[in-house]
Structure formats: C-alpha cells, structure tokens
C-alpha cells in the first residue's frame, strides 16, 4: 500500500507538485495521467526519492520512506522507466540479478529467481539468459526491464511511461502481461502515462494531474460519469465517453440470463467490442460463451446501450 500525504515539490518559486494526497491499495494498479509538465513524473520520482520532496510524506506499507537512506529504500521498490535503461554491458541474467545482488542474496537463490522471471516473461533461459540487451527486440527489452524491477520481490512497482517506446500491437500485449504479472505477484503498481487509453485499460484507479495538482483520483468509470473538473472531461474525451464507459465493462459482467441465436462472444471482451460485433453482424443479441463452451447468458443491444449512460 502506498499512502501519499500532502506531497509537495518546489524548485525556487515554481511549484511542480502541489499538496498531492492519495492512497494506492495493496495489490491494485493506480495510474497517474496528465499532460507533459503536469508534475506526474516528479510525483512518481518522489516516491522512491529520486526527487526529494519539499514537504509532505510517503508511507509504503505504513513505513515512512524517509526512515532509510534513499538507495536502501529504492532496493525495496521496483522501478521501470521509458527506454528501460538496461545495462548494455551486462547480460540479461545479470541485468535481472541487479537488485538481488545489491541485497546480497546467495548465488543459488539469485539464479533460481532469474530463471523463474525469465520463464514468467516468456524468455527462454537457454537462449536469453546470456544475451546482451542490444540483441533483444524492443518488446523483449521491455520485459527484461520489468523482470529486473521485480527481481527482489518488491511490494511496490513504480513505472514511468513503461510502454511508451513500443508499437501499438506489442504495447497492448505488454499491458495485458503487466495485469497478469501484477495479479500473480500481488504487487502494488503505480504507473505514469500521458495516454488515457492506457490509464483506462490498466488502472483500478486513475489520478488526473494538471499543473502540479491532483484534480481527481477515482475509478475510471467515475472519471467519465462524475468528472471533478472540466479538465478531467477534456482528458477523458467528451466525444466518445459513452464508448469509453462501455470499454470498462466486460461481456461476462453485463450478460443477462436468456437464449440468443446471435454470434458467440467471450465473457472477457468489453461491451464496446461486443457492440461492435453486433453492429458488424447485424444481430440484436449475442451469446456469451465461456472458453469451455458453457453459455453464460445473452447480451442484447439494449442491455449494452443501457450501460453506456451515466
């Protein structure tokens, strides 16, 4: 759990982050969105003290982050940045082993952990453990960056535009993978992005920042239905807010009992995708069917449309 209390950063007369407070629940993903210069990266960097706050405090699992020297604190917090910053002179395995080695783990434990992470991130240890970063594709480098951040089993993972350098197809895959890995390890994730779609895709809660201030910190749907400021609606987009709302609900959640002779859809897809499927096929309803063939119910156009209203 991350508790941020009245966190402020001033450089001379300029206030970059202005009395920001919020809490990220244990095992959830919070996303900070904002335009460039909104102070979102500075806010993130104050949590692992790469930037020292002017005032306010941060608690991680109840412990004040100022209790330890900054470099010792950072060994307990995973950190992923845009461009990843992999060490070009170290192999993939050595890169991943960075923090465990700093913490003085014994060699056997490090090797086992590196192997486990390579497998979790679908990088075959035989071909990738001894590869150098420049021999990897962009997507693989990104995965090594996240694996390295998670190596010492940190309770908290900070990510600054971690998908910014990936092409759209790989980015979507990497976002899904992050969700899976976050659930597997139960990590609390705080991610910074300027991309609203990414925030909606990943965030259990989304913080919208502008000019150093936190305008709203809420569930994605609430940002659409109850925006706290005009800037929030501008960021989320007014023109397609109904569709965005639909994209937050899955077919499985919205399905109602009843038969349907329409097309079959998976319960994991969003209502936005289900609606698109219905428009495309011209049917009035779809059958929601599990991967094992069990029918979960039906989705009518009316059911879907009702979900697109506040």
């Amino acid at each position: 759990m991350i508790e941020v209390e009245n966190l402020t950063k001033r450089y001379g007369e300029t206030t970059v982050v202005d009395r920001v407070s919020f809490t990220v629940e244990r095992g959830s993903i919070a996303v900070i969105v904002g335009t460039s210069g909104s102070g979102k990266s500075t806010l993130l960097r104050m949590i692992n003290r790469l930037v020292e706050p002017t005032s306010g405090r941060v608690l991680i699992d109840g412990r004040d982050t100022r209790g330890d020297p900054a470099h010792l604190l950072r060994r307990r917090i995973g950190y992923v940045i845009q461009g990843y910053g992999l060490f070009p002179h170290r192999t993939v395995a050595q890169n991943i082993a960075t923090v465990p080695r700093l913490l003085g783990w014994d060699a056997r434990r490090i090797e086992a952990r590196v192997r486990e992470l390579l497998e979790v991130f679908s990088l075959d240890p035989a071909s990738y453990a001894d590869a150098l970063p420049h021999q990897l594709s962009g997507g693989q480098q990104q995965r090594v960056g996240v694996a390295r951040a998670l190596a010492a089993e940190p309770a908290v993972l900070l990510m600054d535009e971690p998908f910014g350098a990936l092409d759209p197809i790989i980015r979507t895959k990497a976002q899904d993978d992050l969700r899976g890995i976050q659930q597997r390890f139960g990590t609390t994730v705080l991610l910074v992005t300027h991309d609203m779609d990414e925030a909606f895709r990943l965030g259990d809660r989304v913080a919208v920042m502008s000019a150093g201030q936190l305008l709203q910190y809420d569930r994605p749907a609430a940002l659409l239905t109850r925006p706290a400021a005009e800037f929030v609606s501008r960021m989320t987009g007014l023109a397609d807010r109904a569709l965005r709302l639909l994209s937050l609900v899955t077919a499985g959640e919205a399905a109602l009992p009843g038969p349907s002779d329409g097309p079959a859809v998976a319960p994991t897809i969003s209502l936005r995708e289900a609606l698109s499927e219905l428009l495309w096929s011209g049917a009035d309803s779809a059958r929601v069917v599990d991967a094992d063939g069990t029918v979960r119910g039906r989705l009518t156009v009316a059911t879907i449309l009702a979900r697109g209203r506040p």
Binding site: L50, H71, L73, R74, R75, I81, G85, P88, H89, T98
Partner: protein
C-alpha cells in the same frame, strides 16, 4: 585481411627484437650511411637496455597520468566536482601545450638531471588525451541507464564502479593508448637531461654526424610506438568483448 595484418605485425616485432638483441648483424645494412669508417651500429651502450629503459619511463609516466587524469575526469563529472571542470581543463591543456623540452628546462633545476625531469615532462604531456576521453566516456553513458542504476538502489560509488566506468572504459583505454604512444616518441628528448633512452643514440648521431645512429634511434622508437599501439588495441578488444555499445 586481418590475417595479413597479423603476419605483418609479427614480422615487425621479430625484426625489432632481432635488431635489439644482435644489432651487429645489421651492420652491413647501416654501413653505407657512415663516413670515414665510423661505427655503423651504436657502440656506446646496449640498444636493448636503452629501448627497455625508454619503455619503462613511458609506462611509469603513463600510469601516473592515467591515475591523475581519470581521477580528475571522475571528479569533474560528479555534481559536487562540476565546478572544478574549467580549472582541470586549463591545467591539463597547459600540460599538453607547454613544450616537453621547456618542462625539462624548468624541472632540471628543481629535481636534478636523470629520469625524474623526463617523467615529469611525459606525465604532463600525457594527461590531455586521457582526461578528455574520460570526460567524453563518462558523459555519454545513456541517461536512462544512470536513472535505472540509481532507481535500482545503487549507491553513487556502486553506480560509478559497476556502470559508469565499465561503460566509459573503451574511451578511457583509448586515451591511455594515445597518451602512451605519443610519449614513446616524446621520451627521446629525455636524453638531453641524461635519462636513459634511445634519444642518446640520436643525439650521438647528431653530434658525430653519423646518419646511421640517428636512423637506428628513430626507427627503433617508431617501431616500438607502432607495435605498442597495435598491442594495446588488441588487448583492449580482448578486455572489452562484453562492452558492446550501440
């Protein structure tokens, strides 16, 4: 092609060694360059000893320049040492622009004749390439790599030793190599202040108008510089197989 280059280098090395070990065998080659029956091969000292003495002086000077120049380079790239950059640069530049002969002239009254003034001159002359290369090497470490190193929890010292210096190593070593090679040639002037070296042979040739002596001193020095350069380049490649920069 690399094969041919290797053969050429080995041949040059064999030539150098055989000349230094048994110079008299080459007497017929140098004889046409002498007049009035003057000795064709330097006979006032052992060429091998002189060559090794010169090489030794150069290496000691290079070790000292490397220590100081790399140290300064590290200092001025730390946030706390940045204000020393202009001063360090000026000092190092003076070391390079002040002619080594003039350094000798200044140093002799202070430390006497022999190796010491030569070491001082070579030390000062060799600082610049190492210092500038260290600066470029440390400054071109990608910012994302530095940010990641700090973000992982490395202390400033750990970051310097395990990330910055290894990544800057190719450029630093190149600077040291440049400095060494420059100084193999420059070291001959040490003989004007009684340091042992091949300059002695050249000076003897100049004094007695013996072209053969001048040529011997010059050729051996030149060959040593070239071979040293190649040897160090090969050594660097071996050491840095793992540092691949894109």
């Amino acid at each position: 092609m690399p094969r041919a280059a290797t053969v050429l280098r080995l041949a040059a090395f064999a030539l150098l060694v055989s000349f230094l070990v048994a110079p008299q065998r080459f007497a017929p080659l140098f004889a046409p360059l002498t007049q009035y029956g003057a000795p064709p091969i330097y006979d006032q000292g052992n060429l091998l000893t002189l060559a090794l003495a010169q090489l030794g002086t150069v290496c000691v000077a290079a070790a000292a320049s490397s220590l100081v120049a790399v140290g300064l380079g590290i200092l001025v790239t730390r946030p706390s040492g940045a204000r020393f950059l202009p001063l360090s640069r000026t000092l190092v530049n003076i070391g390079q622009t002040f002619p080594p002969v003039a350094v000798l002239a200044v140093a002799v009254p202070l430390v006497g004749f022999g190796e010491r003034p030569t070491l001082i001159a070579l030390f000062a002359y060799g600082l610049l390439p190492i210092f500038e290369n260290t600066l470029v090497g440390l400054r071109t470490v990608p910012p994302a790599v530095l940010e990641a190193a700090s973000g992982m929890g490395m202390s400033a010292r750990q970051r310097l030793l395990t990330v910055e210096l290894p990544l800057a190593a190719p450029l630093i070593l190149e600077g040291i190599r440049l400095s060494l090679v420059l100084n193999v040639g420059t070291a001959t002037i040490g003989s004007t202040v009684a340091a042992k070296g091949l300059g002695e042979v050249i000076i003897a040739g100049l004094l007695s108008s013996n072209t053969a002596f001048i040529l011997q001193g010059g050729l051996v020095t030149g060959l040593m510089a070239i071979l040293l350069y190649d040897f160090l380049a090969a050594l660097e490649r071996r050491m840095l197989r793992h540092v691949t920069l894109d």
